[in-house]
Amino acid sequence: MSDHSSAKSPLPTYFAVFFALLIGTALTVYAATLDLGKFNAPVALTIASIKATLVALFFMHVKGASEKLTKLVVIAALFFLLLLLGLTMTDYATRLWN
């Protein structure tokens, strides 16, 4: 996690991500005012996920992390979260089937 002799300053990246996050927020709010039917939720979550990924990759330095282990921990956490949500939904999504 130490400064890996970046000849190039990371600041431009940080500011670029910062602005991207703000734009993403504005976009999310705007998209919520549109009637996209059942796509409102996926759009909102997709934008949120892109923002979260940017924070993780660039602010939390997952991109360029010295070890694959960091990425593995992140992926594992997401995987188990999706397990919780997904397998729970196998019950709720199918309860009313016949």
């Binding site: 990371p10 709010v29 919520a32 924070v55 939390m60 956490a77």
Partner: protein
């Protein structure tokens, strides 16, 4: 995250004649190992936090599917501009956090102190805005419990139907637990950054050793990420005009 009692982290020779950083704890062989251990430890802790909030997201997912209209009505009643502002506040604070880490890496003491201070200020701003929101909810009788009331609120898109107050109460229960727990994590984050500020003030951080800033930063970013999801899920269910 602790280091020994010494002001500057100047490299000192120990009894074996080998140079070692006084921040190095005895059971580690070298500073890089200690740093990697701290980093992995924080990432694992964040993984536990993902699952902790995850349980709440699961509850939210279940009930939002079941009671979409009622949830949409309840969501419309919370203050979206304040929520959006808070999102921007946290995004700014994440920027100041990475700036703080960069400042520690590049021995920029003033920038480090300013970044840490601004981060805390933004965190307090977030909590202040949250407080305003909670106060509003209290005054509107949207706090679950005996005085909860959500009568005659139309379901967005179905002006002839009113939202079921029971289901709306479920929304608000989740709203308060999720944002409340998030706020609690924010308060803890403020405590951590206060401690980081104190350490930075005393000049404890150097380019060779500033692990607490890095892992404190990881924690803060995580709290930001949770809010990045909370905002659209709670505030933006249906904002069609």
């Amino acid at each position: 995250m602790q280091n020994n009692a010494s002001s500057a982290a100047a490299v000192q020779a120990d009894a074996h004649g080998e140079a070692h950083n006084p921040a190095l704890l005895h059971h580690f062989a070298e500073p890089q190992q200690q740093r990697d251990a701290a980093s992995l430890g924080m990432w694992l802790f964040l993984a536990t936090e993902v699952m902790f909030f995850g349980g709440l997201f699961c509850a939210y997912l279940v009930y939002r599917r079941w009671y979409f209209g009622d949830f949409a009505a309840a969501s419309k009643s919370i203050n979206m501009p304040l929520g959006a502002t808070n999102t921007a506040v946290l995004i700014c604070s994440s920027l100041t956090v990475v700036l703080a880490v960069w400042a520690a890496q590049t021995a920029r003491r003033t920038l480090l102190l300013v970044s840490l201070a601004v981060t805390m200020l933004l965190g307090l701003t977030f909590l202040g805005i949250k407080g305003i929101e909670y106060k509003d909810k209290f005054e509107e009788h949207h706090v679950p419990g005996a005085s909860f009331s959500f009568q005659n609120v139309p379901i967005p898109g179905h002006p002839d139907q009113y939202a079921d107050p029971h289901h709306a109460q479920l929304f608000f229960s989740l709203y308060f637990v999720m944002t409340g727990l998030h706020a609690l994590h924010m308060i803890i984050g403020l405590g951590i950054f206060l401690w980081l500020f104190a350490m930075a003030w005393k000049g404890r951080f150097t380019p060779e050793w500033h692990t607490p800033v890095e892992i404190g930063g990881l924690y803060w970013h995580f709290v930001d990420i949770v809010w990045i999801y909370l905002f659209p899920l709670l505030y933006l269910i249906d904002r069609h005009p």
